[in-house]
């Protein structure tokens, strides 16, 4: 059809980045909840939680907080996509000679950019609150890679929500369970402190392996088998969500 996929994606990405710049509150809002959680856990609950390690509690919980940041940030992707569909601009794009996948990729890349900024803000606050790591550049890059993969995987889930939602609230409600998932994982307390079935769930859901991997990278510990489990989950979710999103998109535009 057209050979302008990259160019069109770039043009549309700068459009939706502009949306974010015009309402930076979306990034602030995304960062506020995780920061509040961080304050709450570090200064209120943290003392009572026995992590079984001599890491400071903020070091222990930061990986989970970062995942919560992203899980709440991607709701805006669903929201913006839904508004495009509602407002008719989506149909205008569809009736123009532009690469069709560009419309979705622009939202995905925008989500990546916005979430990286939010994550950066949260890490900055964590540093002020005493987070410390001796992680090497390579370990930081590995953390960044995992967070990017996590963002991409969840963003495609958000695309599904945005494309199929009937109401604005529906477009973002899907993210609540995702935000909640880290609480039933190793993010805030060791899973062996949980009762049987809960512990089983916590140990076998994706967040635990991702949190453990990031935690090990920050603590300069070996990542063990967790990294492979984490990568398998992330790639699995990414592929399935992407396939679903594209299928829904095709149905929508044909």
């Amino acid at each position: 059809m057209t050979t302008h996929v990259l160019g069109d994606t770039g043009i549309l990405t700068s459009r939706s980045l502009r949306h974010i710049l015009r309402s930076p509150d979306t990034i602030i809002t995304t960062a506020v909840t995780p920061i509040a959680l961080m304050l709450l856990f570090v200064y209120v609950f943290g003392g009572a939680i026995n992590t079984g390690s001599d890491e400071s509690y903020i070091n222990y919980m930061l990986p989970g907080i970062l995942l919560i940041t992203i899980a709440s940030g991607i709701a805006y992707t669903a929201y913006r996509l839904f508004l495009d569909l509602q407002g008719g601009i989506f149909e205008r794009f569809q009736s123009m000679p532009i690469a069709r996948s560009s419309v979705l990729w622009a939202h995905v890349l925008t989500s990546l950019a916005a979430n990286l900024v939010s994550v950066g803000i949260v890490i900055g606050v964590a540093l002020i609150m005493g987070f410390r790591t001796g992680a090497s550049v390579a370990a930081w890059l590995a953390v960044a890679g995992i967070l990017i993969l996590f963002t991409l995987a969840l963003t495609w889930v958000a695309v599904i929500a945005g494309l199929s939602a009937k109401t604005v609230d529906g477009a973002s409600a899907f993210s609540y369970p995702l935000i909640f998932l880290p609480f039933i994982s190793s993010a805030f307390a060791p899973t062996d402190s949980m009762p049987g079935p809960v512990a089983w769930f916590a140990e076998n859901q994706p967040v635990t392996s991702i949190v453990n991997t990031i935690r090990a990278l920050f603590a300069q510990q070996p990542v063990g088998s967790d990294v492979w489990i984490a990568l398998a989950w992330l790639l699995g979710i990414l592929v399935v969500a992407y396939a679903f999103a594209i299928a829904i998109y095709r149905r929508k535009i044909s």
Binding site: D8, I11, R18, Q94, M96, I98
Partner: protein, 288 residues
């Protein structure tokens, strides 16, 4: 340029000098049990204004969506600018622009940014110059740096149509372009449409209003219960009506008359699509 698509239907109409800009044959479309279009046929001559008249829910938008490749028909064929909409949607999109029933502008962006965005997506050179030119033509220069969300309905519609003109597509679809506009804005849109057709653009517009079709269209087709029940020039359609009776009715001024009297314009060709402050734009003096 205007080569017939390879997969064009076999019946080459010989009695027509020009291939029609739009050819619709036996188009059907259902949504579940609702048979919205039950075999729609018509041709639109290149460079003409064609009005598709139908009441609310008649299927006008559905047809426009099919012709602009947003929706697939269940049966029948349609060619736009010589390209089959089902087989060559990419080529169709290169040849058309759609102004949907509801203004499709980016509310967060300014008017100028909206125009620049479309110009870039159409891969045109000098998107900024194109935007400035259109802002001037549509009397939006002053509002150009304001967010589209602050625009009035008429301004938004003008911006919407301006966005559709970028790249000078040979065929334009306007789906109920004046629904919801005040009389002044309505006349402005009419002027724009006439000017477009004057430049050779083929316009297919849908409307619920007979007077709009009367004002603008070279041909009028009436879509009712899924088919075209009448298709002809205004004069032809009028002939179908019972002969005119002469009745004496005291003419009450319509709201439109009152409005125009108040704003000081009685001659509709003078209410061009620009403010009084832009009274010297040359194009406005050649209304068709």
């Amino acid at each position: 340029m205007r080569e017939r698509a390879e997969n064009g239907e076999p019946d080459m109409t010989t009695n027509q000098a020009l291939e029609p800009a739009i050819r619709v044959q036996g188009i059907e479309k259902s949504f579940k049990d609702l048979h919205v279009l039950r075999g729609v046929d018509f041709d639109v001559r290149t460079g003409s204004i064609f009005a598709l008249l139908g009441s609310n829910g008649a299927g006008k938008t559905t047809l426009v969506r099919i012709l602009s490749t947003l929706l697939k028909a269940d049966a029948g064929t349609a060619t736009v600018h010589g390209f089959d909409v089902a087989a060559k949607p990419g080529d169709v999109r290169e040849s058309i622009s759609l102004t949907g029933q509801f203004a499709a502008v980016d509310e967060v962006l300014t008017g100028r940014e909206n125009l620049v965005l479309v110009a870039k997506l159409r891969h045109l050179k000098n998107p900024r110059a194109i935007a400035d030119d259109l802002l001037a033509r549509f009397s939006l220069t002053e509002a150009g740096n304001r967010k589209a969300s602050t625009y009035s309905g008429g301004m938004r519609r003008r911006l919407d149509i301006a966005m559709s003109l970028i790249g000078n597509p040979p065929i334009i679809f306007l789906d109920e372009p004046t629904t919801g506009l005040d009389p002044q804005a309505r006349i402005e849109v009419w002027q724009t449409v006439k000017k477009l057709a004057g430049q050779g653009t083929t316009v297919l517009l849908t409307t619920q209003y007979l007077d709009e079709a009367e004002q603008l269209a070279d041909r009028i087709a009436i879509l009712h219960k899924g088919t075209i029940i009448q298709n002809g020039t205004l004069a032809e359609l009028k002939r179908l009506l019972p002969p005119a009776k002469v009745e004496y009715v005291e003419k009450q001024p319509s709201l439109e008359d009152v409005f125009l009297a108040l704003v000081g314009d009685t001659d509709e060709t003078d209410t061009a699509d620009d403010d009084r402050s832009y009274g010297t734009v040359p194009a406005r003096k050649e209304p068709r």
